[in-house]
Symmetry: C2
Subunit: 171 residues, 2 copies
Amino acid sequence: MDFTIHAATLEDCKDISRMILELAEYEKVSDQVKITQRDLEQDGFSKNPFYHGIIAEVPEQHKSKDGHTKVGYSLYFYTYSSWKGRAVYMEDLYVMPEYRGKGIGKALMSKVAQLGLAAGCTQLNFAVLDWNKPSLDFYLSQGCFDVTADLGYHCMRCEGESLEKLAQGDS
Amino acid sequence: MDFTIHAATLEDCKDISRMILELAEYEKVSDQVKITQRDLEQDGFSKNPFYHGIIAEVPEQHKSKDGHTKVGYSLYFYTYSSWKGRAVYMEDLYVMPEYRGKGIGKALMSKVAQLGLAAGCTQLNFAVLDWNKPSLDFYLSQGCFDVTADLGYHCMRCEGESLEKLAQGDS
């Protein structure tokens, strides 16, 4: 199936918002999604954007049963390793279920890798949930490795009241 | 002991570079450090910086046995959660061994949390190595939680030839 990949614009935020929810439903955490289309517009398209996006689109004649032509996306941003320098982080990689198995996910990830290399990055980083075996297998097949399993990295987070308290310097 | 915290400037890159190596030695991976002072200058102080830094400094009379007054640092950058929006990532948090236990690490982390909240972030994220029990315990005592243990997140990475191949779209 033909598809194209383009850099996300302000006009894509509606579809990104829809697909973020679809992905969260797949990951069984849709109640966790607090992001709105408006947030995506503001955070991705202001002077110092917090993320960048790319969109996979199919021709009108291949639109989804719900009438969508934007059928996949990836959100990414640039990060930094104090050992290796510039890196790119792929926050999301998603293809609508009815368009899977056609190389769209691979093409999106490849584009993020291209953009990262062009920006001088030497690493592409991302996270995967341990129960998501199909995704994990796909990533391993692409030569990625599991930093948590191989090197013992644990992702840590502070949020909500703990974050407020930390910022206030209370012990 | 008195200490101050200030935003890192170009002039701090020499000390940041020195402390990155000290931290890597502590983490037993100093052979992994490819970053030079020059990289830090270029990547942190260009128009679109890849990272930001803060420095902990002690007065001249409390300088280290090697003559250093810059005794701790944190590198951080802004990231994005497609569920929760703006986030701040603490790449490094380091205090020289002879200055530990004086609240400097806590003050650095608190400053990163403050800066993150001021920028509209709702999460502070970072990674910890599973064998580094003292650090893990410190973070847990600050109300942080272990996303890998609690939610099953694995950090994944693609680099070197695999990244080149991915970018070229070879299967």
